[in-house]
C-alpha cells in the first residue's frame, strides 16, 4: 500500500469526484440511492455546498449556504469547472431524519445529527442509549460506504469516461 501522506494528497480528487457524482445521482439516478439503502426515503442536499475550482494553479473556493442551498449557483460553478468539496446532506429513512456534512478530501463526517434517542438518567441507561446511537451513526456510514463503493467500482472501469462522465457533463450543461 502507498504511503499514507502521499496517497492522501495524490488521491483526494477521488473524494471531490465522489461528491460531484453523488449530487448528480441525487438529482438524476435515485435508484442508485435505493440500491445503497433499502430503507432510504430520500437523500437531499441540506444547507451547504462547497465547491472548488482549480484554475491556472490558483484555487477558488465557492461556498453556498442557506436552506435548499442554491443549486443554480452550484451548477454554474460546475459549468466553470469546479468540483464539489463538501456537502451538507439530509437523509431520511422511515419517519426519521439525519443531517450531516461530508468532506471530499478525507470523507470525514461532521455535525452529524441523528434522530432523538432515549435520555441518560442513570448509569444503567448508558449502554442502551449508546448502542442506539451507534446503530444510528452506522446507518450513515453504511450508506456512504455503499455509495462510495458504487462510485469507485465505476471509476476504475471504462464506463466512467464513456458513460458516467458524459451523463454528468450533460446534466451540468442542461
Amino acid at each position: 500500500m502507498l504511503d499514507v501522506a502521499v496517497s492522501y494528497n495524490r488521491y483526494k480528487f477521488l473524494g471531490y469526484e465522489f461528491l460531484t457524482w453523488l449530487w448528480f445521482v441525487m438529482e438524476n439516478r435515485q435508484e442508485i440511492l435505493k440500491e445503497s439503502d433499502k430503507e432510504l426515503v430520500s437523500l437531499d442536499i441540506g444547507n451547504c455546498i462547497v465547491l472548488e475550482n482549480n484554475k491556472n494553479d490558483s484555487i477558488e473556493s465557492i461556498t453556498i449556504k442557506g436552506d435548499k442551498a442554491g443549486l443554480e449557483e452550484g451548477i454554474l460553478s460546475l459549468q466553470k469547472g469546479a468540483v464539489v468539496t463538501e456537502l451538507n446532506l439530509i437523509y431520511k429513512a422511515g419517519n426519521n431524519e439525519w443531517r450531516f456534512n461530508i468532506k471530499g478530501e478525507n470523507l470525514n463526517i461532521s455535525s452529524l445529527k441523528t434522530p432523538e434517542t432515549g435520555h441518560v438518567e442513570t448509569k444503567e441507561d448508558i449502554e442502551g442509549v449508546l448502542l442506539e446511537k451507534v446503530f444510528l451513526y452506522e446507518k450513515i456510514f453504511v450508506l456512504m460506504n455503499n455509495l462510495y463503493k458504487h462510485f469507485i467500482s465505476l471509476r476504475v472501469t471504462n464506463r466512467w469516461e464513456k458513460d458516467v462522465v458524459l451523463q454528468i457533463k450533460k446534466w451540468i450543461a442542461s
Partner: protein
C-alpha cells in the same frame, strides 16, 4: 445528575446531539487473551495528572463513563460488542502576556543581581524556560476528552473528532498502547481497503487521474 456529568464531559462525545467522526481501519487484533491485552494497554497508558508538574501537555486513555477518574476495572470498557473508552489530552495554556510579565520581572532581577547591563541569549532562554516551568506548576491543565468506539470483530474504529492534532495523538497513543496500526479512511484507503476491489482494480486505482467534467 448523571446526565449532567455526561453532558459536561465534552462537546463532541458519542452521546452529544451533534458529532464529528473520523473513521479508521484497525490492522489486525490484539493477541489473546484480547480483553486482558486491551486492559493492560489502557492502564499502562492511562492519563496522568500534571497539575503539580511542570509538564505543559499530556495524553492518555481514560474511561468513557468517568473521564476524570480513569477506571478500567471489570471490563468496564466493554459495551455490547464494542470497546468504548476515551483519549484525554490535557494541556496547560499560559497566556503570553503572563509569561511576558514574569519574564520581564525575572530579567530585571538577574540584571540587578549580576550588575551587568545585558544578558546573553542563552541566559535569556534559560530565564524564559524557568518562568514557563514555574508558571506551569501554578496553572491547572485543561482536559479535552475524545471518545472512541472500537469494533474488534469488524476491525473498525470511530474517533469522535476531526481535529488533526487529536487524530495524530490518537494514532501514536493507539500504536504505543496496543502495538496495532490505525489506518485513517480517506478516499484512497477507503477505495483500497473496504470497497471490495479486485487486485486488478486496485492496480487501476493507482493509475487514476482527475476527471474533467467540463469540455
Amino acid at each position: 445528575m448523571f446526565f449532567a456529568i455526561l453532558k459536561n464531559r465534552g462537546i463532541m462525545g458519542i452521546l452529544s446531539s451533534s458529532v464529528s467522526v473520523t473513521r479508521y481501519k484497525v490492522k489486525s487484533n490484539p493477541e489473546k487473551p484480547v480483553l486482558e491485552k486491551v486492559y493492560n494497554g489502557l492502564t499502562q497508558n492511562a492519563i496522568q495528572e500534571i497539575d503539580d508538574h511542570p509538564l505543559e501537555k499530556t495524553v492518555g486513555w481514560t474511561s468513557f463513563e468517568n473521564p476524570y477518574i480513569p477506571d478500567f476495572e471489570g471490563s468496564s470498557f466493554v459495551i455490547g460488542p464494542y470497546l468504548v473508552f476515551s483519549m484525554r489530552l490535557d494541556r496547560k495554556s499560559i497566556p503570553p502576556k503572563v509569561i511576558q510579565k514574569h519574564y520581564a520581572i525575572e530579567m530585571a532581577r538577574q540584571l540587578e543581581k549580576s550588575g551587568r547591563k545585558y544578558l546573553s541569549r542563552n541566559e535569556k532562554k534559560s530565564i524564559k524556560d524557568h518562568v514557563i516551568d514555574v508558571l506551569s506548576l501554578r496553572i491547572p491543565a485543561t482536559p479535552n476528552i475524545y471518545d472512541l468506539i472500537w469494533n474488534m470483530e469488524e476491525s473498525w474504529l470511530w474517533f469522535f473528532s476531526n481535529l488533526k492534532a487529536a487524530n495524530e495523538e490518537l494514532e501514536t497513543l493507539f500504536s504505543k498502547s496496543f502495538r496495532l496500526s490505525l489506518i485513517r479512511l480517506f478516499p484512497y484507503t477507503t477505495a483500497d481497503l473496504i470497497s471490495g476491489l479486485s487486485d486488478a482494480d486496485r492496480d487501476l486505482l493507482l493509475q487514476l487521474s482527475p476527471t474533467k467534467f467540463t469540455e
